[in-house]
Amino acid sequence: MKGIVTLVMALWLLPVCPPLLAATAGGDTSITMAVEFVDHAACAFVAFDREMFRSEGVVIRSHSTYATGMALAAALTRGDVDAAYICLVPAINAYANGKVPLKVVAGTHRYGYGLVVDPRRVSTVTDLERPGIRLGCPREGSPPDLLVHEMIQRYGLDRENTLKKIRRMSPPKLLMALKLGQLDGAFMPEQFPTMGEEMGFTMLVTARDLWPHMQGSVLVVTETLLERHPVIVKKLVTVTTRATAYIAAHPGEASRIVARWLSVAEGPAGPLTGGTIPADLEITPEAILRSLTTRLECSTHIDKREVQKTIHAMARLGYVEEFDASRMLDLRWNHE
């Protein structure tokens, strides 16, 4: 009987063993990487495809993709990844609420979010206030969510009324719901709004309209990686810069690469986990091209003031407590 009790109590301790082991393990310089499964991570897909990581001597043990930045933030919280291409907003959530010790080391793009609507039901922003209008948006604490609040403020919409209309879903589900007529509009991260346009919906507002210089996605690394292998981090920043330059120089080819990586039908090159996009929502290179060139502004530059502005907006909404942006920034290699 005593033996059984001891065994049962020991089983309770099992979940804490892996992090303990992980904490004590060392010596291996390969890294795990995660990316969002949207064209925000275009530079990552290009870098993988063009083997830029390998050419810089960065060994990536495995990479995972996540349909939303929030899911990726959860993975960061769990400690499953060393580096990630992730939207700034969920990175702030992970840092402030999840207490993930991470650092933003480079940017990847500005903007990259938009509101598409059914033109038969909505033609102006004020139309959104009409009764019966259903709006879709990812969950609270996402960049589109922040932009919805910006939109409410900028256009003087009724806050309570507008928020009540919102149905919260992940971007792929938002697009499906829009397609099925269950929503009249959806605020989504690229490339979904552009895909919506291809389906016949209209882009009503974009991040550029609501928030000039909005920081989109960033490259984050864990403090552990930064302390133990600063050289690798430097190389990651270099790769990001090279990939971003490639996108600017060869947008067509970059679009084809990204479309291929995001398309389930053709199958990506590496091991995939996490989100997928339903097969009947086809991601065409043309859509990616338009998304990359008009809806995103690919750049590794980060403005600390924009990061602080984002933190402030999130604090105002009660998502995080206000803190100094420089605590989560390490831009020593970010020269752009």
Partner: protein, 257 residues
């Protein structure tokens, strides 16, 4: 056991919980285990609980979930009970409906979610219908079992004493089937709360499930834990309610059956 002894036993039952909370507080507050597994201490969780209550957020979400559970559960249980009585009491009805229901019964309630989302859209009907389905089958089959396992001699005795078929059903069969029916209700009530959380996590804007999703995306583990505590307490409260009701209605005699 006398009342004093029972009280003492209940008090002792709180000791492991208290020990668990103390260990949790110490481990979290002093980061005993390094790594990224951020778990807020119970004091922070309780603080957040208080803040959510005072702000009114928790009340709104909780009432939304509670309303859906009560409506769906009542509708599903009543439908399950009535159908169960019909199928348990009437052989023809049983032969007709059992093959159909046995096809649907194994499907988990949440398995219907994608289909119901298309049929009902993202509305109040969606979680209510899901709870209806999750409540219907356990109550149905427990009612049927309860009725069919009533010893035949009780029915014969009642008939010889002059009771009509209807009277036998109401005065003998249903009371004796109550323990089984209550078992079904107790099973169902826990399921209802689990289903509502999952249903609300999909797209419903209000409810404990929605709050849970919001907390997940904001990586507010303290709020996640608050939601889980509420789920646990509500499951327990509902189950206890039916246990109490069962004891009141059948406690005097069911232990001998």
């Amino acid at each position: 056991m006398n009342s004093q002894g029972k009280k003492g036993s209940e008090t002792w039952g709180l000791v492991p919980i208290a020990v668990f909370l103390i260990i949790w507080e110490v481990v979290s507050r002093f980061h005993v285990f390094s790594g990224y597994h951020f778990v807020p201490p119970p004091s922070a969780v309780m603080g957040e609980f208080y803040r959510l209550v005072v702000a009114g957020d928790l009340g709104v979400h909780f009432l939304s979930s509670l309303t859906r559970v009560v409506i769906g559960f009542c509708a599903g249980s009543i439908a399950g009970f009535l159908t169960g009585v019909m199928m348990g009491w009437n052989e023809g009805a049983h032969r007709t409906f059992h093959p159909i229901f046995s096809l649907f019964y194994p499907i988990p309630a949440l398995g219907w979610l994608p289909l119901f989302m298309i049929w009902f859209g993202i509305s109040e009907a969606l979680p209510i219908v899901l709870i209806f389905v999750s409540s219907f089958f356990p109550v149905l089959y427990n009612t049927i079992t309860g009725i069919r396992t009533v010893p035949k001699n009780y029915i014969r005795v009642a008939e010889t004493l002059g009771a009509s078929r209807y009277r036998v059903l109401i005065t003998v069969i249903l009371p004796l089937a109550l323990p089984n029916i209550f078992t079904g209700l107790r099973l169902t009530t826990g399921m209802a709360w689990r289903v509502i959380i999952a249903a609300e996590m999909v797209a419903i804007p209000t409810g404990i499930g929605a709050l849970l999703m919001k907390a997940q995306n904001l990586i507010r583990i303290d709020i996640i834990i608050v939601c889980l505590i509420i789920l646990s307490v509500m499951c327990l409260a509902f189950e206890r309610f039916f246990l109490f009701a069962e004891r009141r209605l059948t406690g005097e005699w069911s232990r001998h059956v």
